[in-house]
Subunit: 452 residues, 2 copies
């Protein structure tokens, strides 16, 4: 929340109690996004009162700007007390946000509202609700400018002008034939800079970047980012235009996908809602399976340790270094996994880089391993410890080896997963660390055996 909004909050609260109608003037110059911040910060009942007292158009904008979590709650509360308001606001909202809102409503309320609103809007919402979650279809808005290819530039500008009010963007218009087949794109920039009598099919760019309704929203974000698109047309199998995705929706997608990846790398199932809005039960559900799986995996460490235990004093002393060695290997593995998984996610690594990456990680791992082994040796020498020469050598060599193991597993496992068409992000850093734990212990004791 911006500071100015925060400062206004007490005043809004006061007005809601004393004279709600003054709020219209108080908030007139505020951006709907800031009004949405206020609605989110208020207690549910006050928030409803706040949104309800403002003009319908402002209420619609606020709902468009609200966090998904809060929006449904706010709308539901108001819809229950003032049905007429709910219907008017539904009509005033943009097509994509409206459908998102309806998707979050309880089925009974959704159905009864859909039965009451105008047939056209109702059909539109039902259509958008039919697209799978996280698909390009679920992001699109049907409020776009379609133009006949035979229109002239000046006719087109008139058409744009006449429909501007209801459109999500008027800066890109789409030439379609009478079946709705997408023929080309023409920007308002082209329309205003071209001679008035040229026709759309002369001006339009027929080489359009499009996306299929069923494609993943991540692909939509990638295309819009790559081609610097303000709007991306979404088409069905017959190249009929279903709607457009606008740049503001795609910013949210990029952020959402980055959060999902971060969660996966941290061994948490991606959450549906923001952390603070997620009920505790769901947090446990998102974490427990991974924690249990990792726990069962790491159980093998006990067997490894038991296997190598021979009751000697030397072996006991070696045990003291176990956490140091395995956690250092795990850290190196986490670093590699983070670098590789993120580079894959942003599309900077092509499969033909695989061998190159493994070679690089081998070298980086060897250099890091040498450094760590050196630091470890220095430390033992500095403390004038009584450790034997063999001990120092065994530990240093093991450190070198586990850091290399970490670098190779941390890079190799994500690359292997991609090859198997599994999302590399599921090879979470804890997962890599656990693999290094087991492998690192075996390496450590095998190396120790060589020195004793």
């Amino acid at each position: 929340m911006e500071t100015t909004t925060r400062l206004l909050l007490p005043e809004v609260r006061q007005a809601l109690r004393d004279e709600p109608e003054t709020l219209v003037a108080l908030t007139e110059e505020m951006h709907p996004a800031d009004l949405a911040d206020i609605a989110v910060a208020l207690e549910p009942e006050l928030a409803q009162k706040f949104v309800g007292v403002l003009p319908i158009m402002v209420g619609a904008r606020i709902l468009e700007m609200c966090d998904e979590d809060k929006r449904a709650e706010l709308f539901r509360g108001l819809a229950e007390s003032d049905r007429g308001w709910a219907l008017l606001v539904t009509e005033a909202m943009t097509a994509d946000d409206r459908a998102d809102l309806y998707a979050e409503l309880p089925p009974a309320l959704q159905a009864s509202l859909l039965a009451e609103i105008a047939a056209e809007e109702s059909r539109d919402i039902r259509l958008l609700l039919s697209y799978p979650e996280d698909s390009a279809g679920a992001l699109l808005t049907t409020d776009f400018v379609g133009l006949p290819a035979t229109a002239t530039a000046s006719e087109a500008i008139e058409l744009v002008r006449a429909n501007a009010e209801e459109m999500e963007t008027i800066y890109q218009a789409y030439a379609v034939d009478k079946h709705g087949t997408l023929l080309g794109v023409v920007s308002l920039r082209d329309l205003v800079t071209t001679p008035a009598d040229r026709t759309i099919d002369e001006i339009m760019n027929p080489n359009i970047v499009t996306i299929n309704v069923d494609a993943d929203q991540e692909e939509a974000a990638r295309l819009m980012s790559k081609y610097d698109l303000m709007a991306l047309p979404v088409v069905d199998r017959n190249h009929h235009i279903a709607g457009i995705i606008t740049f503001d929706d795609v910013l949210d997608v990029v952020e959402e996908e980055a959060t999902e990846d971060a969660h996966k790398i941290g061994a948490v199932d991606p959450l549906e809602t923001s952390y603070i809005q997620t009920p505790i039960r769901q947090l446990v559900q998102a974490r427990a399976p991974w924690l249990i799986a990792l726990f069962i995996g790491v159980m093998a460490t006990e067997n490894v340790l038991e296997h190598y235990s021979d009751g000697s004093r030397m072996m006991l002393m070696l045990m003291w270094f176990v956490p140091l060695i395995i956690s250092t290997g795990g850290n190196a593995g986490s670093q590699s996994a983070t670098l590789i998984i993120r580079a894959i996610a942003v599309g900077k690594l092509s499969p033909k880089d695989n061998m190159n990456i493994l070679k690089r990680e081998f070298i980086v791992g060897a250099m890091l391993g040498l450094i760590i082994a050196g630091v470890g040796m220095l430390r033992v020498l500095a403390t004038g410890s009584t450790r034997s020469y063999s001990m120092v050598m065994a530990i240093s060599c093991s450190l070198m080896a586990v850091v290399m193991l970490g670098a190779l597993l941390g890079s190799g496992v994500p690359l292997l997963l991609r090859r198997l068409r599994i999302d590399p992000a599921v090879s979470s850093t804890p997962f890599i660390a656990s693999m290094v734990d087991i492998g690192g212990l075996i390496i450590y004791f095998e190396i120790a055996k060589l020195f004793f």
Copy 2:
């Protein structure tokens, strides 16, 4: 790279060898972003030949679309062999990309080119180069439409039309007084839908979201995402407009910042270039300090283990479970840290949530701890192991405790860092895991003492 582009690559290679001039026709209908993909995929020499043979305007678009890493290399090679080309392309590029390109050139080449290009462009590049890296200033373009507040809508449309060619966007225009002070914003949508004789100061919206030139680029991305802005005006201390940031640049920023955060969470210094472009020496530099710091930190585990060692058989058996216990605690800590750091990064947690978060993590940690302790107990029972009752209890209770410790440190440390105004992302998951390693060992042996 899109599949169609990949398929075209051999044909481009062939043409470059045999008859380069045919490339102009071959690539005429392709998007500059796809041409940039080709340039990046070609060997440096062929890439230079490819870009050099295309029209200047196309070359400029390709450079704008290229990865930062590749762009400077490509331009440098061409500038050395064809000075005239370099000067023309510089003038044809958009102001922001041009300045970014010049920032990456060797100082001598940069200086000599700046001396040769037109004074206006040279001044513009110098100005943009003067803004600090990762600041709003460094993202801005000076190619925006400024309008006198006294102009009428139809005059303004004429002005926009006349300057459209050179502008980054014409969909948002900015009303300025004769000193360059920003007065308001007016969209092309407003201009085309309003009566032709209304003046800008009647139509414009004076409540503008702006950002200071010195502000962080992350703040620019946050504002544009929050207010759904296609362009964000950047102002200096006197509210003079310095330029605008456009939506396409901000998509890159969101992705870049997510990558930076991911690297920090994985205990790697954020890289300046993409992973595959980063020289091995820099990869080692980005990783070694963190690895060493964590290594030195975890050294304490050896002292803890030595301290508790009494040479008994029981103590030896307890040692076998050390990796299992500390890695499970570390995993729980990684999960919490990931959730909290990401939630802070996307602005979903306000400082007043702190107590609430710790309470939630306490409960989640307790539930996860119970689950893991239960699984651990089942496993011991299932294997019909000879472990004593005390042993099973000590291990189960320790598991419960370290999972809770992980959840509390994983959430508490990032929150504490934010409070101290340090980026929470530096409390990397390996850092949390290392703290849990040390704490977990002490808890484990203290609990064991209670049972023996």
